[in-house]
Symmetry: C2
Subunit: 418 residues, 2 copies
C-alpha cells in the first residue's frame, strides 16, 4: 500500500472528505465516553469480592498473632510484607507495607529527601534539584516533581527502556538527583526495560551523592498474555556495584484488587528502610493492618496473585485487542501513525504526525470522547513534538471501546489531512 505522504493531492482530498464524513457521523451521535484514565472496569473489581469476607470478628489476627484492629506494627504485617517481597523478588526485610496508594509513598519519600536529604544536604537546602523524566511517562510522577519544585529533564523511552546513553550523560550533572522509572509495561508505551537497560541503571555512577531512582513497578504482575515480558530484579543487579541505596521501588495492589482500597509497598535497601522507618515513627503509628490482612488472606502467595492476574487479563485483553484491531484496520499501512502492542500494563501509546496530537484530542473531545489530556504524558503537560496520545482501554466496555477507537481513528485521519 502506498503511504499517505506519497498520495496525489486529489487522493488526499478524497481521503480528507471521507475522514470528515466518518468523524461527523460519530459526532452527530452525541456520545459521552471517558477513556482518560488507567482505571479498571467494574467487572474487574468484582474479581476481589472475597476481600469483603476475609476478615471478621473471628479473623483479625495476623499469622504472628498481631491484633490488626489495634495500633502497632509500623512496617506492616509479616504475611503482607512477604507477599510483596515475592511479587518484587526481594527479601521481606526490605519491604514496608503501607496504605492504599503507592503515589503517596513516592510523594512521602521525596518529601523525606527534601527535608533530610539522602547522603548530602537536604534537597530543599540545595540550589536546584533535577530529575530525569523518561518520556512519555506517567503524568502524576511529573506533577509530584513539580510540587516539590524539581526540574525535569526529558529522556525518551525506546522499546528496551530509557535512552541510557542520554541518562549516563545527564547524571554527570550533580544537580540531577534522581529519575522516575516504570520498568515494566511502562506507562503509556507498555515497554519493559531490557536486561541490558536494568544492568546499566544498576551500574550508573551519578555525580550526585544523593541520587535516587523512583522505581515505580506499578505493573509488575500485570500481564495480558501467557507469554509475559520479563524484568531483571533491580536490587540484585545494583548490589553488584554497591548501588542498592540508589533505588526505591514501589508497587501496589491497586490494579490487582481494588484501585481505591488496596495496599501499597516500598522495597529498599537496609539503610534506606532504616531511614524511612525513622520518618514513619513521626508520621504514623501504623498503617491499616486490617486491610493488609484482608489482602493476605485472599492473596496468600504468588499462585493466588498469578491466578488473579489471569482473571484480569481475560477481561481486559479483549479490550486491548479491540482497540488494536481498529487501529490496524483504520490507520494501518498509511504511515500517518504508529502505536505500541503491549503484553501487559494499562495503556496503548499512539504516535500521530508531529504537531497533530492536540488537534486529535480536540476533535475527540468535540465528538464526546474524553482522552487523557494530550501532552499529559510529558512534564508540564507539554509534548514537545505534539505526537503522543495515551489510550486507556480498561474502563469502557468492549462495545464502547470499539466506538472510541473508531472516533479516535477518524480524528487522526481528519487531523493528518487537514
Amino acid at each position: 500500500m502506498k503511504q499517505f505522504s506519497q498520495w496525489t493531492q486529489p487522493e488526499k482530498d478524497a481521503f480528507h472528505q471521507k475522514a470528515l464524513a466518518d468523524y461527523q457521523a460519530y459526532k452527530s451521535k452525541g456520545l459521552k465516553i471517558d477513556m482518560s484514565r488507567g482505571k479498571p472496569g467494574p467487572e474487574q473489581l468484582c474479581l476481589s469480592d472475597a476481600l469483603y469476607h476475609s476478615v471478621d470478628e473471628q479473623h483479625y489476627k495476623s499469622e504472628d498473632g498481631t491484633d490488626c484492629r489495634n495500633y502497632g506494627g509500623l512496617l506492616g504485617i509479616s504475611e503482607t510484607r512477604q507477599l510483596f517481597a515475592d511479587i518484587l523478588g526481594v527479601k521481606k526485610e526490605n519491604v514496608i507495607v503501607c496504605g492504599n496508594a503507592s503515589l503517596t509513598l513516592m510523594f512521602d519519600y521525596i518529601g523525606q529527601c527534601m527535608i533530610h536529604g539522602c547522603g548530602d544536604k537536604p534537597w530543599c537546602r540545595q540550589d536546584k534539584i533535577k530529575f530525569i523524566a523518561v518520556v512519555p511517562g506517567y503524568d502524576r510522577h511529573f506533577s509530584l516533581a513539580e510540587y516539590y519544585g524539581i526540574e525535569l529533564v526529558n529522556v525518551p523511552i525506546h522499546e528496551d527502556g530509557p535512552d541510557m546513553d542520554m541518562v549516563e550523560e545527564i547524571i554527570k550533572d550533580p544537580s540531577v538527583k534522581g529519575m522516575f522509572c516504570v520498568p515494566k509495561y511502562s506507562n503509556p508505551d507498555g515497554y519493559t526495560y531490557s536486561a541490558e537497560t536494568v544492568r546499566r541503571l544498576a551500574k550508573m555512577e551519578p555525580a550526585a551523592r544523593d541520587f535516587r531512582v523512583i522505581y515505580d513497578n506499578a505493573y509488575v504482575v500485570h500481564d495480558l498474555y501467557d507469554e509475559t515480558d520479563s524484568l531483571l530484579e533491580i536490587f540484585s543487579e545494583a548490589e553488584k556495584h554497591g548501588h542498592e541505596d540508589n533505588f526505591i521501588e514501589f508497587a501496589s495492589t491497586s490494579k490487582i484488587t481494588f484501585p481505591g482500597a488496596g495496599v501499597a509497598a516500598i522495597a529498599a535497601s537496609e539503610r534506606n528502610i532504616a531511614e524511612i522507618k525513622k520518618r514513619l515513627t513521626s508520621q504514623i503509628i501504623s498503617y491499616d493492618k486490617l486491610n493488609q490482612l484482608r489482602h493476605s488472606r485472599v492473596l496468600r502467595d504468588m499462585d493466588d496473585v498469578k491466578a488473579q492476574m489471569k482473571r484480569h487479563a481475560a477481561i481486559i485483553r479483549p479490550k486491548f485487542e479491540a482497540v488494536l484491531d481498529i487501529l490496524e484496520k483504520e490507520l494501518g499501512g498509511l504511515g500517518i501513525a504508529r502505536w505500541t502492542h503491549p503484553r501487559g500494563g494499562y495503556f496503548i501509546s499512539l504516535y500521530v504526525e508531529q504537531g497533530s496530537a492536540r488537534r486529535v484530542g480536540e476533535l475527540c473531545k468535540e465528538a464526546g470522547l474524553t482522552l487523557t489530556p494530550v501532552g499529559a504524558t510529558y512534564p508540564h503537560g507539554v509534548d514537545p513534538e505534539d505526537k503522543n496520545i495515551r489510550i486507556a482501554p480498561t474502563f469502557p466496555s468492549v462495545e464502547e471501546l470499539k466506538i472510541c477507537a473508531e472516533i479516535l481513528c477518524a480524528a487522526v485521519r481528519v487531523a493528518c489531512s487537514e
Copy 2:
C-alpha cells in the same frame, strides 16, 4: 492529716520502710504489664464488629452513587465528610476525610508548609521555625516537630487550657509559626480548654503572617461520663476576627472504632482546604473510600457516634476509676503527689515531687510495669521539673490496673522518701 513534709524523721523512715516493703512485694511477683500507650483494650475493639459486614458485593456505593472500590473522590465520600462535620461542628465543605491516621495528616500539613509555606516564604527557606508546645502534651506532636527541625517553646497547661498570657507574649516573635493544641480532654491531663481560652486563641494576632495552630481534636467525643466537658467550636470564633486560616483541625475514629483501621479527617477554612487539595492532587488519587463507607454505614449520624462512645465509656470508666481510687487511697492527703480527674480522653496525669518522676519510672520498670517513658510528655523527652507521669489506663484489665496502680503508688512513696 499531716502532710509528709511536716513529718518527723522517724515517721519518714517508717514510711520509707513500709513503702519499700510494699514495693518489694510487688517486684517479687515478676509481673509484666504495659500501661504505656493510649491504646483501647480488646473489649473496646469488639464494639466495632459491625464494620466487617457493612460493605460487601452489594454495598460498595456511597450515597451519591460513587463506586468506592475504584479510584476517585479526592476529598472523601460525602457521607463521611458529613459525619466528621457533625462531630466537629463545622460544614461538610470544610472537611476532607482521608486514611486511617490523623498524625499523618498533621505531618503532611506541616510538610506542606515546609515546602510551600502558608502566607509567607516556605518554612524550609526561613531561618528558624518555632512552635509552641503546650506541656505536658502528646509526645508524637513533639517528635513530628523535631522531624521537621521545628524548635519547641514550652507553655504550661492549666485546668482551663494553655497559659494564654504566655502564648500571647510568645507569638510576638515572628519566628513562632504555630502551636500544637489538644483542646478537649488534653493528652495527658484531660483538661478541656475553657470558652475564654478558645476565644483568646481565636483572637490571637501572631507576628508571623504564616501562623498555624495544629488543633488536634483527638478526643472530641470521648466522654467518660454523662456530664461532659464542652468545648467552644474554634472556627466560628476565629471567623469573628477573620482568623479562620490560622487553624487546622484534626480528628479520627481511631478511638471510636479501630485504632489501626479507622478514618481520619481535616477541617479547615475554605482557603486552606483549597491549598490542601492542591497538594493532595500530587500526593494521592484517592484515600480508601471503602473504609470510609464502612464507617459511615455503621456510624450514620451523631446519635450513632454518641451511643458508641457510651459503650466505650462503660468499658473504660471503671478502669479510670480503679486507678483514681487507688491513687486516693495510697497517696491522698500526703502532699507528695497530685493527679487529674478527667471526664474524658485517654489519660490521667500524675505529678510527683519535683525531680522524682524518672526515679518512679525506673522503680516501676524494675517491678515489671512499663509506663509511658517519663519525660515523653515534654519536647525531647525532657520534663524540666521531672514531675509528670502519664497514666494510660485503657488497655490493661481492671484487675491488672489495680496492680499497676498499687505498684505505681508504692514507687511514688519509695521515691519521695528516699
